[in-house]
Symmetry: C2
Subunit: 338 residues, 2 copies
């Protein structure tokens, strides 16, 4: 049985929603879940559920890293924090993957330090799936682990992104594009120009060239490569605009009786759109390039989001994504290694 | 009467929609419109409308710069292109402002060469208004004129953006934020860190710090400063996600009879959201920092978009935005001038 370590203390709704999501995962997905945090708090939460026969264990951790702490400092200082102990479960081989929903920065730093980088991987990166207007999601990499990158690192993000996409969505040769301010070959910064040349030369990739912000939500590509600054702006702008449109719709429907009636009748359709665009369904982001499966769920994760994140972690562990990245980069050793 | 020069040959729906929009502006806004392009083509289009008593003139230009030409080369080569002649109307004092809907690159290069930069302005930038969930739009600057910028240039974008926002929306002291991957002071690239210090020290600005992609669509700020690469990605991602959500909504409403009925009843509400998020309503982007009023409309502009763009150009000319920027930068000469 796949064993997933879950930081019970991270996230806006921790520990209640985290523990609840872990119980659902243990029950519905047949995963062994390890909950990390102060045992008394976790036990109290577990008592709210029927857990008989489920493979749920508690791993003690006495401290918590809060959202407003500086990640690098907090991780070094708080050796017995739930996030550090969670990563240690993976690095020591006691778990096959981990899920954390608190500070993305803290989870990233903890995983980088504790799990370490895969040989020849220059930087780990965060890959995040987003919905599109088609059935096929798009994966953006990096969405914030590295504010500044070079072209070789972006090439590696493309390679890792393609491997992860294939493992997650069972699709061979996903199309890979570089996020740019135009789709013409001559456009953009020196960084995207240099990256273009490297990706074009990497024949194992299904590289389609530059892609604009208005095209990837239409499903014109499966993997979008960007430095962590640009990727983060794209991801969060997408989140903000989706929220804005839904809010506008609500405002306009409530502004008239006709709107209210129509809105009520069409509610199942609105709910379907909400489901398709809700991050609670996506299962969180993956930190790739480290020697272990690490899923970082949204800070606002509910039980459903946590369950889905555990599902992704379990899928990645079963799909041996770390071994696949290791293999790709051991073959490409002569290339871009730092 | 304010005189606006309009490139009749630029945009996906040129010359028909451009000429139509110009007629509407001349009729409804009391603006003198100059249409630039081949006279026979423009005359033919004008014959479709009642133009008696309207102040519409034709300025001949024999060539057209197409969307797929490299802007810098095309502008130098095609001296008698509609976009070059349009900018010359402004630089020679024959028009008080200009509107162009073709290639953003060509319009930007033509205006930069022909109008020249305002003294002490290091780089011109494109400012673009976007809707928010509130009544107040947000202005993003730069959305693509400069793929790479330094902190002093971003400071100038902030200053020009605030002046333009005040002139366009009649709001003093608009809040200014820097687009970043987090709102914490310590986050981001060296560029945004350096820019933060400069904006904080510039006491004439209502600077609120860093802002994330998920916050500006909620109306938490009026002016968002970014380099042209990041700004362009944010703008186009916003456009793409808005389109995606509307498409999803359509898909889900059409998927069931109940959805179809509800959608039909609530149609006025959907139309209201469409109006609030349609670029045809926004009046286009402004190239700021050049010695003249230059509005760049969306390539897909219809008559309504062109009319609104002419309105913005006329408002900016009447509001003496160029003189206001000149004054600000002549006072700040000792500061950040290149």
């Amino acid at each position: 049985m796949v064993r997933i370590a879950v930081d019970a203390m991270g996230g806006d709704y921790a520990p209640r929603e985290i523990v609840h999501g872990a119980v659902l995962a243990a029950r519905d997905l047949g995963v062994a879940v390890q909950l990390i945090g102060p045992p008394d708090i976790i036990e109290k939460e577990l008592r709210r559920h029927k857990t008989k026969g489920l493979d749920i264990s508690i791993v003690p951790a006495s401290e918590v890293v809060s959202m407003d702490e500086k990640p690098s400092r907090a991780i070094v200082k708080k050796k017995d924090s739930s996030i550090v102990v969670t990563t240690k479960q993976v690095s020591s081989g006691l778990a096959d993957g981990m899920v954390a929903a608190g500070s993305t920065g803290a989870a990233t730093v903890a995983a980088q330090i504790e799990l370490g980088r895969i040989a020849n991987v220059s930087r780990s990166a965060i890959a995040c799936s987003m919905p599109t207007s088609t059935d096929q999601p798009v994966m953006l990499i990096d969405v914030g682990a590295n504010a500044e990158c070079d072209a070789h690192q972006l090439l590696q993000f493309a390679q890792m992104g393609a491997l992860v996409y294939t493992a997650l969505y069972n699709m061979e040769n996903p199309r890979v594009g570089i996020l740019n301010l135009g789709s013409e070959e001559t456009k953009g910064t020196q960084l995207v120009q240099d990256t273009y040349k490297l990706l074009q030369a990497e024949k194992t990739l299904n590289f389609i060239g530059f892609i604009e912000g208005r095209d990837f939500p239409m499903g014109k590509v499966e993997v979008v490569v960007a430095d962590g600054f640009v990727g983060n702006v794209a991801l969060k702008t997408a989140e903000g605009i989706a929220k804005m449109i839904k809010l506008m719709l609500k405002q306009e429907l409530y502004a008239s009786l006709r709107g209210k009636i129509g809105g009520l009748i069409a509610k199942p359709s609105f709910d379907a759109v909400e489901r398709r665009t809700n991050y609670n369904q996506s299962g969180g982001a993956l930190l790739v390039g480290v020697k272990g499966v690490c899923v970082i769920a949204h800070g606002g994760s509910t039980r459903t989001a946590i369950k889905n994140a555990i599902r992704v972690a379990a899928d990645m562990a079963r799909g041996k994504i770390v071994e696949k990245i290791e293999k790709t980069f051991s073959l490409a050793k002569a290339g871009s290694a730092s």
